[in-house]
């Protein structure tokens, strides 16, 4: 019933879903990403402007277009809130969204950042 209420509230209010997230993600400058089966990016993660040094970080990339599947990254901490995300399978050029989940001091945080892949 609560879910029906939530649905009705959304319908009545007509409000778009929130894009706020607790985790800030900054993709560090690097070579342009092209279509490839094993891409690599380095990101800097922070929560409330404090670099995230959590050990438990997972990341995935999804295309803005549906039906392309999810690329799961291998995450390697580099220190100072930086993480290398590797083995990203990027089969199509266009707009992608990087989603990162982490656990800091027992609290789960998550965030998303857009990035572009060239042909």
């Amino acid at each position: 019933m609560k879910r029906v209420g939530l649905l009705l509230a959304l319908l009545v209010c007509g409000c778009a879903p929130s894009s706020r997230s607790a985790l800030s993600i900054r993709l560090l400058p690097g070579p342009a990403l092209h279509v490839q089966p094993s891409a690599e990016v380095v990101v800097e993660l922070s929560v409330a402007n404090r670099q995230l040094a959590a050990a438990d970080v997972s990341a995935q990339a999804d295309m803005r277009h549906p039906g392309m599947g999810t690329a799961v990254a291998t995450v390697t901490p580099l220190g100072r809130g930086r993480y290398r995300l590797s083995n990203l399978d990027l089969p199509m050029a266009g707009d992608w969204v990087l989603s990162v989940k982490a656990s800091t001091q027992g609290h789960p945080v998550s965030g998303a950042a857009a990035f572009s892949v060239l042909p």
């Binding site: 295309m63 549906p66 392309m68 999810t70 089969p91 042909p119």
Partner: protein, 477 residues
């Protein structure tokens, strides 16, 4: 090749009994209704990543792919299973409360559908509907509301025939499907006075079991029936089976099959090119066919690098970065060019737009189908994880939720190329047949313009499908 094969698909064991069952259509509609409701729920409340949401995955990947397959292999199956028609129950109630109107005469054509199709094509790119679960959910809700309201105020079937862009897309492209509703024996229709396939018929309840062809399997829908009678509805889009030569306006509801007292209506196999050669649609419909033909190319074009190069060139040339304006310019100019080329080919060949437009339908289906199957081939497996995640949030766990695997459609180009080649061969053959039927003494040179137009469509589509596909939300980013 255009001759009737006279094989009735409904003669397959058990199929006729099934379609005459009162709940046959409901059986098809309920799964799609359930999926539509889940899509709306997930679109409004689930992940806003398009690839992880039931709304976007089901509508823009699965639905379009399965639609293309069904049109290629059977016919307008999706109108037959359309869950929007389940609004007929509520609309019958609303009809008692709302003033009843006849559909305005000036709208009894395809121009409204044509305008709505253009609006949809523009909105699809301008608002990146394909990337937004939230907007896709609104689109589904709006569609249900429009169907309900239209058929509550106007006669049932008005929405399907005169409004629904999706249904009219299906009507148009099913013109090259291998089946058509037809009378099994026209001599039986010649002596028919009731025209039950068109008007429906009311029969006493006790006659259900006594009538021929085992009506006991068909406890008919008691629509507006007096006490002790049942009404078998006729065709809501006002088609009369013995005169049908086209799938246009046929929702494949099979009411005619159920209503015919002589069991004389079949879903007959035919050459997919029969309609292209034999029909001559009204001008409004011919324009819609031409629009859909070129819109298929534009829709695929919007996923290729040259599209974005063109947008940047236009932005520089016109000195504007207003994306909605640039998009409107690209859409309208490409469609207008397509229409202009089609008119030119018709004029140079001595044909009319009305006779040339149906000849392009095989290529139109190949272009739309090739594009839809590209996404479907790679993304067929991405629906289930989204459904799992949505049901999990509803408290219905269906196994461990998994992420959709990365889609690859590496082999789809060969499928697309094969489809296009078959369509080109069919179109060229249909052009030849059309000339032999309508202009037997015409010079062979008259064949060149429509053949060149078909080759141009083929070449453009092949070139587009060979491009590295990309999906970008912005035009200039």
């Amino acid at each position: 090749m255009t001759g009737q094969l006279r094989r009735d698909v409904l003669a397959l064991p058990g199929l006729r009994a099934l379609v005459r069952w009162r709940y046959a259509r409901l059986l098809l509609q309920l799964p799609l209704l359930a999926l539509a409701l889940l899509a709306v729920y997930d679109g409004f409340s689930g992940s806003q990543l398009a690839g992880l949401n039931v709304a976007t995955v089901s509508v823009w990947v699965q639905y379009r792919g399965l639609l293309a397959l069904s049109l290629l292999l059977v016919g307008n199956v999706f109108c037959a299973a359309c869950p929007l028609l389940l609004t007929r129950g509520p609309s019958r109630v609303l009809k008692r409360l709302l003033p009843q109107r006849t559909w305005p005469r000036f709208l009894r054509n395809k121009y409204l559908t044509l305008a709505l199709t253009l609006l949809f094509l523009y909105s699809y790119e301008a608002f990146a509907l394909w990337a937004s679960p939230w907007l896709t959910a609104w689109l589904i809700v709006s569609y249900f509301a429009a169907a309900l309201l239209t058929d509550s105020v106007f006669p049932a079937g008005t929405f399907c025939r005169y409004v629904c862009p999706l249904g009219n897309f299906n009507f148009a492209l099913s013109s090259v499907s291998p089946t058509l509703i037809q009378a099994k024996d026209l001599s039986i229709c010649a002596s028919c006075t009731s025209k039950a396939c068109l008007h429906g018929r009311t029969i006493p309840q006790e006659h259900l079991a006594a009538t021929p062809h085992d009506f006991s399997t068909l406890p008919a829908l008691p629509l507006n029936g007096q006490s002790g009678t049942v009404t078998l509805p006729g065709c809501e889009t006002r088609l009369y089976v013995p005169t049908m030569t086209s799938t246009q306006d046929c929702t494949l509801c099979l009411n005619c099959v159920r209503a015919c007292p002589e069991d004389n209506v079949g879903l007959m196999l035919r050459s997919p090119l029969a309609e292209a050669v034999q029909t001559r649609p009204r001008t409004d419909l011919a324009l819609l066919l031409v629009l859909l033909t070129w819109a298929g190319l534009v829709n695929a074009f919007a996923m290729t690098p040259p599209y974005f190069l063109l947008a940047r060139w236009l932005a520089t040339t016109l000195g504007t970065h207003n994306e909605p304006v640039l998009l409107a310019l690209i859409l309208l100019s490409t469609l207008a060019t397509g229409l202009g080329l089609t008119l030119l080919a018709a004029r140079l060949s001595g044909l009319t737009l009305r006779t040339l437009a149906p000849l392009l339908m095989p290529l139109a289906l190949a272009v739309w189908g090739g594009h839809a199957l590209y996404h479907f081939a790679g993304g067929a497996g991405t629906l289930w994880p989204a459904v799992q995640a949505a049901l999990l949030r509803l408290g219905l766990p269906l196994g461990p939720a998994a992420l959709p695997v990365i889609a690859r459609a590496d082999t789809s180009f060969w499928l697309q190329a094969t489809l296009l080649e078959l369509a080109l061969a069919g179109t060229l053959w249909a052009i030849l047949q059309r000339f032999q039927h309508t202009r037997p003494g015409a010079s062979a040179r008259r064949l060149v313009p429509p053949a060149a137009l078909a080759l141009l469509l083929f070449g453009l589509a092949l070139w587009l499908f060979a491009q590295p596909m990309q999906a970008r939300v912005g035009l200039l980013t």
